[in-house]
C-alpha cells in the first residue's frame, strides 16, 4: 500500500511508529511502542527460521504498517477519552453557582486525597532517591557500585510508573501505562552511558527530590485551609446557638466561664467568610491538582522526540 521504504528491523519499525505518532501524548507513544515491541519480538522469536528483516516484511499485513497502527491508537485514545471522561456537568450559569460547583467536581476530592497522600509518598521518594544516590556515589569505587547504580535507576523507573498511575487516577493527567523498555543487545557500559545521558533519569530523580517539600506544602495547604474554614463555620454556628438559647455550655477555667467564639453580631459574617474560604481552598486544591499533573508529566515522561 505504501511504497515508502518498509522497516527492515524492529528498531526501524519502532522508529517509524514513533515518527507516525509524532505530536501525540508522550504517554500514548510510550504505550504504543511498548505494545509493538512485545508483538514484534514475539513474532521474531516465533519464527526462528526466518530472518528478522523477512519477518518485518510481513508485519505490515499482520500487525499493520506503522501509520495504520498509529491511526488505531489515535482513534482508540479519542474514544477512551470520551468514554472515560466524567459526563460533562452542567456549568451553573450564575457566578455564585460556578463558585460552589467545585464541591460537585470529583477532581477536587481526588486532588485533595493526592495532596494529603503526597506527604507520605514525598518523604518516601526523597528517602529512596537520596539513599540511592549517596550509596551509588559511595560504592562507585567498588565493583558493586555499577550494578547498584543500575538497580537504583531501574527502581526509580518503576517508582515513576507507579507515581504516574497515581497521578493519572487522582489528578486526571494521562500518564504511561507501560514501562519504558530498554533497547536490547546493548553492552552494559553503553547502557550505563545511555542512562546517564537520558534526560529522564535526572528529571525523575529531581521530581522525587522535589516531592518532599511539595508534599509538605500540599499537606499543609490542605489541612490548614480546611481546618481554619471549618473552625470559622463551626465557631459561628456555636455562637449563634448559644445566643439563641438553643445550645448551652462553654468552657470553664477556674470556675470562670470562658468563651472564645465570635460575638453574636459578627457570627453571621464569619460564617459566610468560613464558607467562602472553604470553597476558595477547594478551588486552590483543584488548581494545584491540575498543576501538579502537568509537572509530573513534564518530569516523568520522556518527550517523544528525544529518541532512545
Amino acid at each position: 500500500m505504501n511504497d515508502k521504504t518498509a522497516p527492515r528491523s524492529i528498531e526501524q519499525y519502532l522508529a517509524a511508529l514513533r515518527a507516525a505518532l509524532a505530536g501525540e501524548d508522550p504517554a500514548l507513544i510510550q504505550d504504543a511502542l511498548y505494545d509493538a515491541e512485545e508483538y514484534l519480538r514475539a513474532e521474531v522469536a516465533a519464527n526462528p527460521g526466518r530472518s528478522e528483516s523477512d519477518t518485518l516484511e510481513l508485519i505490515a499485513s499482520t500487525y499493520g504498517a506503522p501509520e495504520e497502527v498509529a491511526a488505531a491508537y489515535r482513534t482508540t485514545e479519542k474514544q477512551v477519552r470520551t468514554a472515560l471522561a466524567a459526563p460533562p456537568r452542567k456549568t451553573p450559569r450564575t457566578a455564585l453557582g460556578r463558585f460552589f460547583s467545585v464541591y460537585g467536581d470529583s477532581r477536587t476530592w481526588t486532588a485533595l486525597f493526592y495532596m494529603l497522600l503526597a506527604l507520605v509518598t514525598g518523604i518516601f521518594y526523597f528517602t529512596v532517591t537520596v539513599t540511592g544516590l549517596s550509596l551509588s556515589a559511595g560504592l562507585i569505587v567498588l565493583i558493586v557500585g555499577i550494578p547498584f547504580f543500575l538497580l537504583f535507576v531501574g527502581f526509580t523507573r518503576v517508582l515513576a510508573l507507579a507515581e504516574g498511575r497515581l497521578v493519572e487516577g487522582l489528578l486526571g493527567q494521562r500518564m504511561p501505562r507501560r514501562p519504558l523498555y530498554p533497547a536490547k543487545g546493548i553492552p552494559i557500559l553503553e547502557r550505563i552511558k545511555q542512562m546517564l545521558v537520558d534526560r529522564r533519569t535526572w528529571t525523575t530523580m529531581f521530581y522525587f527530590l522535589l516531592m518532599m517539600p511539595l508534599g509538605i506544602i500540599y499537606f499543609m495547604i490542605a489541612t490548614v485551609g480546611i481546618c481554619v474554614s471549618i473552625g470559622l463555620v463551626g465557631g459561628s454556628i456555636a455562637s449563634l446557638l448559644l445566643t439563641t438559647g438553643i445550645g448551652s455550655g462553654g468552657f470553664t477555667l477556674d470556675d470562670q466561664s470562658i468563651y472564645f467564639g465570635p460575638s453574636p453580631i459578627a457570627a453571621p459574617f464569619l460564617l459566610l467568610a468560613g464558607v467562602a474560604l472553604l470553597t476558595a481552598v477547594m478551588h486552590l486544591i483543584r488548581a494545584i491538582g491540575r498543576g501538579h499533573g502537568t509537572l509530573a508529566k513534564h518530569l516523568l515522561v520522556a518527550r517523544a522526540d528525544a529518541g532512545g
Partner: protein, 124 residues
C-alpha cells in the same frame, strides 16, 4: 475511482471494527481457559480468520488496554526472554456480564442489518 472505492471500503471496515473488536476480544478471552497475552490473542484471531483477519493486529492492543482500564479484563505482567515483559489478560466477572449484553446487542443488530442487506441482495 478505484482508489476512492478502496479508500471508502477501508474506512467502512475501520468504522465497523471500532466497536466489534472489543466484543471479539472479550469472547476470545472468555473461551480461553488460560491467561493470554497480546501476541497470542492476535495469533488466535489470525488462525480463525484463515490468515487475514479484517482487523490489523496492531489495533488490538489499544482496545485490550481500554477494556482493562474499564475493569472488563484483569491483567498481570510476566517477564519474557524474547522481549519486554508480557501482559497477560483474563476476563473478569464484569467482563463476562458485559460480553453477554454485547452479544445480545450484536445479534439484534446483525439480524436487523441482515433483514435489509440480504433481502436487497436477493432481489436486485
Amino acid at each position: 475511482v478505484d482508489a476512492d472505492t478502496e479508500r471508502l471500503s477501508q474506512k467502512f471496515q475501520r468504522e465497523l471494527n471500532a466497536g466489534l473488536v472489543g466484543l471479539v476480544l472479550l469472547a476470545v478471552l472468555e473461551q480461553a481457559n488460560e491467561d493470554l497475552y497480546g501476541y497470542q490473542i492476535a495469533k488466535r484471531l489470525q488462525k480463525l480468520a484463515d490468515g487475514s483477519p479484517p482487523v490489523k493486529q496492531g489495533a488490538l492492543y489499544p482496545v485490550l488496554r481500554q477494556l482493562s482500564a474499564n475493569g472488563l479484563l484483569a491483567s498481570r505482567i510476566v517477564p519474557s526472554y524474547a522481549g519486554p515483559p508480557r501482559r497477560y489478560y483474563r476476563i473478569t466477572g464484569a467482563g463476562r456480564a458485559m460480553l453477554a449484553q454485547w452479544r445480545d446487542i450484536w445479534r439484534g443488530t446483525r439480524d436487523f442489518v441482515d433483514g435489509f442487506t440480504e433481502a436487497n441482495g436477493a432481489t436486485s
